[in-house]
Each structure stands twice: as C-alpha cells, then as structure tokens.
Symmetry: C2
Subunit: 75 residues, 2 copies
C-alpha cells in the first residue's frame, strides 16, 4: 500500500453550492477508497485531502467539478 | 451520424460560480464534439443542450460538476 499523503488545493468557490459540489465529488472519491478524509473550506478557499490516491487523481476529480484550482504544491 | 437532440436539465445552481462550473464542463464537451450548442441559465435553473451525444453522456457530465440535477424528461 502507498503511504497516506496530504494534499492542499486552493479552489475558487463562491458560495455554498460551489463548496457543496466539491464536497460531493470528494465524497464519491472517498467512497471509492482513494482518500481517507478531506476538508472543504469555503471561507479559506481551500481543500485539504488525505489519502493514498495520486495527487493527479484528486486534482482531476476537483477539476471535473468545473471549479478553478489555483496551483497547489504538495505540502 | 445521429440526429441532433435537444435536452433540458433542471440543475440546482446557487451563484455565478455554480453556473460557471456547468458552463465550463459543457464547453469541454462541446470542444470534444459531442454537443453543438448549449445554454446555462442560473436564473431559470435550467440547462439546455443541443447535440448528438447520448442523453446519459450529457447528464453524467453535468453530474460530475457535483450539481444536483432534478429529473428531466427529454423534450
């Protein structure tokens, strides 16, 4: 098994509908087992993800919501 | 070639960020050639799509944005 990673994304979210959309997408990824936990903060415009899925997988998932992801070096 | 269809979706969008996300997803689908045109109305909570792509393809694309799609019989 891969080690659990923590990824931080700066995501442009302008209302609860936006953050809800990101939450929904990540919940699906969590159900699929790729990530163990995550936190979506509308206030901070920030998404924190913990899991074994590759960075690109998580990034693509967030991007598929149509939200703009500002660049986010891994932490 | 398949005939061009018109699909109407009732999509829950609560701000310009929400409708922008749907617009972005559908723009990608349009670039891919599956649909010829579309209109996203935040005011009407409505998305109209014209194209040859199957209904399910368009529906999945919209759902991937994490937006709630209320049921939408084809027109």
């Amino acid at each position: 098994m891969s080690d659990t990673q923590t990824y931080q994304f700066n995501v442009k979210m302008t209302c609860g509908g936006c953050s809800g959309a990101v939450t929904k997408a990540l919940t699906k990824l969590k159900e699929g087992g790729g990530i163990s936990d995550f936190d979506v903060s509308l206030e901070k415009q920030e998404v924190i993800v913990h899991g074994t899925a590759p960075y690109e997988t998580v990034l693509e998932k967030i991007k598929k919501t149509g939200k703009q992801v500002r660049d986010s070096p891994c932490c």
